[in-house]
Amino acid sequence: MAEQPKSIDEMLREAEIPAIVVDENGIVVFVNRPFEQVFGWSKDEMVGELIVKIIPPTMHDAHNLGFSRFVTTGRARLMNQPLRLAAVGKDGREFEAEHFIIAEKAEGKWLIGSTIKPL
């Protein structure tokens, strides 16, 4: 299923559902075209920014803790399962979306990617 990609590579080739990939610092390295359309930010506005840009402020603590835990221990609670979480776009509007988060090591460093399908 496209919403549940099995690899970062798949995510990079995803053409229908918004997808985003970040490095282990939480910095965006890739967004696809559907992402630009749904969220309103262009590729240039996203790459190099922190992932928290698209996370509602009220969820920042949970994100910071969970993300840090993952990159330091390799264990995560939120991966490889469909998750209903809020996301926020350029217009500041929050919307519910189904996320599917996966992670892979590339050249010894983590890449974390998520599909984000608005509900």
Binding site: N25, D61, S68, R77
Partner: protein, 349 residues
């Protein structure tokens, strides 16, 4: 700062946060953060286990809907829920609530701290500390204490009866003294616990008589000087019998001092005034009233009127003035009779 050092610092922070989340997850108490509207921003593992759902489902969930709570047997409304109480900046409070799970009722001590950081929405940290077993242990302790108390009181009653069984002519004397002493103590405004141990001390105040020959106790005629001295020893003997028992109340002193008189003319120690404990002063008056109002093997009843004259006549000299006054009030207002006891009970039971 170079990109490399920014990344280095990010990594440092991530490590610290990673450790912190692991630390929080290892705590048995359930911990959550909520925003000012009571929506859960983060929860630790223990909280997820408490609710019985995966942690990820808690994010953004409404605490009140997720966790209905009870207090004093009824469900509390949104306003009373911990996450919704109005709190000042950086304030914290703690209270116990009940949380009903399918198979049991938990008692949780919930403490809330509010945190206000500049530039972001205020958050609350809510900690749930399970005190169910503590509460159960407390309840059980109270129950067994109450049972022990009942046994103790029953045992004292039995001792009182054993004393009286030897002396049929004055059978019931201790009981009647005990009833009157209790009524006097109540009339004087002593608290419930205090009144109770005046009653109990009075119920066995003559325990020392158990060592006296039955013939002397119920001798119909006059007794000799020697016999009188022997009888007087019952106060000291009673004290010796009782003093080594750790009663919660000083019962031994009542047995010891109930024949003491304010001016020091009493026995066995010749104590004066405040050296005589209040409880013994009460029993002393009740004892005199009962003795004079009842038949004895050696003389018929003298009568309640003469008995009251005795205590009012020697008020302040032998007998405590407040005790005398309280006793007189009971009889003058017709609220007490030796046969029937207190006619109306003033204390709430």
């Amino acid at each position: 700062m170079s990109q490399g050092s920014i990344e280095y610092h990010i990594r440092q922070l991530q490590t610290t946060l990673g450790k912190m989340e692991i630390a929080l997850d290892s705590i048995l108490d359930a911990i959550i953060w909520t925003d000012s509207k009571g929506k859960i921003q983060w929860c630790n593992k223990s909280f997820a286990e408490l609710i019985g759902k995966p942690a990820v489902l808690m994010l953004g969930a409404d605490l009140v809907e997720l966790m209905p709570l009870e207090r004093e047997g009824r469900q509390i409304g949104r306003d009373e829920h911990p996450s919704h109480q109005t709190m000042g900046e950086s304030e914290s409070t703690a209270s116990v609530y009940h949380y009903r799970q399918p198979d049991r009722l938990l008692a949780l001590e919930i403490s809330i701290s509010s945190v206000d950081f500049t530039g972001s929405d205020s958050s609350r940290v809510v900690v749930f500390h399970d005190v169910t077993e503590q509460q159960q242990a407390m309840n059980q302790l109270q129950e067994s204490q109450e049972e022990l108390r009942i046994s103790l009181i029953g045992t004292i009653g039995v001792i009182g009866k054993a004393v009286e069984a030897r002396d049929p002519y004055t059978s019931g004397h201790q009981q009647r003294v005990s009833r009157l002493a209790r009524a006097i103590a109540q009339e004087m405004g002593l608290d419930r616990e205090h009144v109770e141990w005046v009653r109990l001390g009075a119920a066995i105040h003559d325990i020392g008589k158990i060592h006296l020959p039955a013939e002397i106790l119920s001798k119909p005629g006059r007794i000799s000087e020697m016999e009188y001295e022997l009888i007087k020893t019952h106060a000291q003997v009673g004290y010796e019998i009782l003093k080594d028992v750790r009663f919660p109340w000083p019962i031994a002193d009542i047995a010891h001092q109930h024949h003491e008189r304010l001016n020091g003319s009493g026995y066995p120690q010749g104590l004066k005034g405040d050296d005589i404990c209040l409880e013994a002063r009460i029993v002393a008056v009740a004892d005199v009233i009962e003795a004079m109002s009842s038949h004895r093997p050696y003389r018929p009843a003298i009568g309640i009127e003469k008995a009251l004259d005795e205590i009012t006549g020697n008020r302040g000299k032998f007998y405590d003035p407040d005790v005398v006054d309280a006793c007189c009030r009971l009889f003058e207002q017709g609220r007490f009779s030796l046969e029937d006891g207190l006619l109306t009970d003033r204390m709430h039971n």
